[in-house]
């Protein structure tokens, strides 16, 4: 990175942080700290919801996923628009009508206290851990850029986010997210245009797409019924639906975003904005990753994108072995590049036989290059057994650092940092508010002043920040960051969604039945995770289905009253809802 990049990076970070602090000055009540005063329009809500979901992981990990596996990951998002329609039609009116403050507050109105606490507990566990991964993502950037120890980087990054969140609160998060998301979209567009521009020096864009297709990177839709396949249309439309329904309907970090709307209409339109634009956005990010893959078919990539791993070997006694591997990798790359050029020429000639032969040769050479990479990874592990060698999350970062012009590098790194800080602070704020409202205020100190609850929420937000930092320091164990977040969510979201859908749809089922059903369903999902190879999106469907089915069966066997009468929110400053003035 050049001096200009550092100026752009730190200038942007400081400007956004200063903006957030300036906008929240004097915010000492719960209304401002947790809800942003219920003044948000649909555009702000839409971008805020999108920014909360699309963290630095989206920007770093997704292109790396496309580089390695192609475009199939977009299928994970096919259920999202359907889920947002359901949330808009079912969840939003219910939350507004009851005037709830957190999603879990609703569960006590509908069921009982223990079900509310279970819902809040499931949220706190999974979101607390996921926040750790959100902190980890930008930390690997700093680690790679400056060469610091990753744990030190995580601590520095995490503490910065915690300080920002604790001092700024929700209002700053919501207001800055709108601008951050705009910067992210512009940054992504610039990155895409630059990679296409660089690529066009070697091959025309339309021909590049054909080559990518022949190399197996453009299979977007797969209608296979193989349940163990990670990305299919069916797992995306069903499992993805339940994952998104859980996330947008029951995760406080998102519920808090759209309940800050001025009216139900503004909240609904904000979600419909995401229903329309989220899938094309993910497609576009994945396509950027495929373009980077194509770029590296013509420009030699490093043997491993995680250069700190390669450097560790070069600084050891086994450096000659790595130099030998690098020489073999360079030779394989040159052969592959010629094969890719032959494939492009065959595609231009439209000779099916030549295309098939060139395709087979290119794929064979790709496998050979991958084998050499595997040998390099094994060598790294032999030199440093603790070193993580999975490097797909470093692919896009490497491209940014080595092939984009000065200034743009700093801007894109700033975008990644801002996105991460925005998402993390939103998560930590939701964790703090849920801990305060659903646990502390409800169970321990129900009649304190607003100032007291603001102080407690700040302390609890800082506590969750420390939990997230601790988890981030073990995140190197996970295979791919964006998958890790989705797997973690899928383990808990199905059960949580099952509780909420039981509340909405099964009016005869009471608190004890749904509570027991949720415990059994969660235990079953975790058991399935450790004992089977089912695609993780199915856990959402299984967990939710089990809660609905078991809850109904248990209720039939249980005596006693089944339906609590729904009451609007009490008029205290903590529990009053967005419609209560």
């Amino acid at each position: 990175m050049s001096l200009l990049d550092f100026v752009v990076l730190f200038g942007t970070l400081l400007a956004i942080a200063a903006y957030g602090i300036w906008k929240t000055r004097g915010s000492r009540d719960l209304e401002g700290y947790f809800r942003g005063d219920h003044t948000m329009k649909w555009g702000t809500i839409g971008l805020s919801v999108m920014a909360t979901q699309a963290s630095a992981i989206t920007f770093l990990s997704t292109p790396g996923l496309a580089y390695e596996q192609g475009m199939a990951f977009v299928q994970n998002y096919l259920g999202l628009p359907i889920a947002l329609v359901i949330v808009s039609a079912l969840f939003i009116p219910m939350y507004y009508r009851l005037g709830v403050y957190t999603a879990y507050e609703y569960l006590e109105r509908r069921f009982d206290l223990k079900t509310r606490q279970l819902g809040a507990f499931l949220f706190l566990i999974q979101r607390g851990l996921a926040a750790g991964i959100t902190i980890y993502a930008p930390s690997i950037i700093l680690s790679t850029l400056i060469g610091w120890n990753l744990d030190v980087t995580i601590l520095l990054m995490g503490i910065l986010v915690v300080v920002y969140t604790v001092s700024g609160g929700t209002r700053a998060v919501s207001l800055t997210q709108k601008h951050q998301m705009a910067v992210i979209l512009v940054g992504m567009a610039v990155a895409f245009l630059l990679v296409v521009s660089d690529l066009s020096r070697h091959i025309p864009f339309s021909r590049a797409l054909e080559v990518a297709g022949k190399m197996g990177r453009l299979e977007v839709i797969n209608f296979s019924l193989d349940y163990s396949a990670r990305y299919t249309f069916w797992s995306g439309i069903l499992g993805g639906l339940f994952l998104a329904l859980s996330y947008f309907g029951t995760d406080q970090s998102q519920v808090g975003r759209y309940l800050s709307g001025e009216t139900v209409t503004e909240s609904r339109l904000g979600l419909m904005f995401n229903a329309v634009f989220k899938v094309p956005m993910q497609f576009f990010i994945l396509l950027t990753g495929v373009m980077v893959f194509l770029f590296y078919q013509f420009v030699e990539p490093p043997i491993l994108f995680k250069h700190t791993a390669v450097r560790a070997v070069h600084e050891s006694s086994r450096a000659p072995e790595m130099r030998d591997l690098e020489a073999r990798y360079s030779a394989a790359f040159r052969e592959k590049r010629e094969a890719i050029r032959a494939l492009a020429a065959a595609l231009e000639g439209e000779d099916e036989g030549a295309i098939a032969a060139a395709q087979a040769r290119a794929k064979g050479l790709e496998r050979r290059a991958e084998e050499i990479r595997s040998e390099a990874k094994d060598l790294v592990v032999r030199v440093d057994p603790k070193m993580e060698v999975k490097d797909s999350d470093y692919v896009f970062l490497t491209f940014i650092l080595h092939h984009l012009p000065r200034g743009v590098v700093g801007l894109l790194i700033a975008v990644i940092f801002c996105a991460s800080m925005s998402s993390t602070s939103s998560e930590l704020n939701a964790l703090g508010s849920t801990s305060t409202v659903d646990l502390y205020q409800r169970l321990l100190r129900p009649r304190e002043t607003e100032r007291h609850y603001v102080i407690v929420s700040r302390v609890l937000t800082a506590f969750w920040g420390l939990v997230a930092i601790s988890f981030a320091m073990t995140a190197y164990l996970v295979e791919n960051l964006i998958e890790a977040v989705n797997i973690l969510g899928s383990l808990f979201y199905g059960t949580l969604l099952g509780i909420f859908l039981t509340a909405f749809l099964l009016k005869r089922v009471g608190g004890t039945a749904v509570f027991a059903a949720a415990l059994v369903a969660e235990a079953m999902v975790i058991a399935l995770y450790f004992t089977t190879d089912i695609g993780y999106l199915w856990y959402n469907l299984i967990g939710c289905g089990m809660v609905l089915a078991l809850g109904t069966v248990l209720q039939a066997a249980l005596p006693g009253p089944r339906q609590r009468r729904m009451e609007p929110a009490p008029k205290d400053p903590v529990a009053s809802g967005p419609g209560r003035g």
């Binding site: 359907i82 808009s88 039609a89 977007v220 797969n222 139900v264 609904r268 339109l269 899938v279 419609g579």
Partner: protein
């Protein structure tokens, strides 16, 4: 704190822009999803 009935009515009683009912908006959104799936299928088929 008294409940502001007029404000509550204004917040809850909502109508979508352009369409008379929300079902119209939802149909449009889901129709767009179907269109995207069709495009993705054609994209996959074309470049396979």
């Amino acid at each position: 704190m008294p409940i502001d009935a007029e404000k509550e009515r204004r917040i809850i009683d909502d109508r979508p822009p352009v369409f008379r009912r929300w079902t119209g908006v939802y149909a449009l959104v889901l129709g767009f999803l179907g269109f995207l799936v069709l495009l993705f299928r054609l994209f996959t088929w074309h470049y396979k």
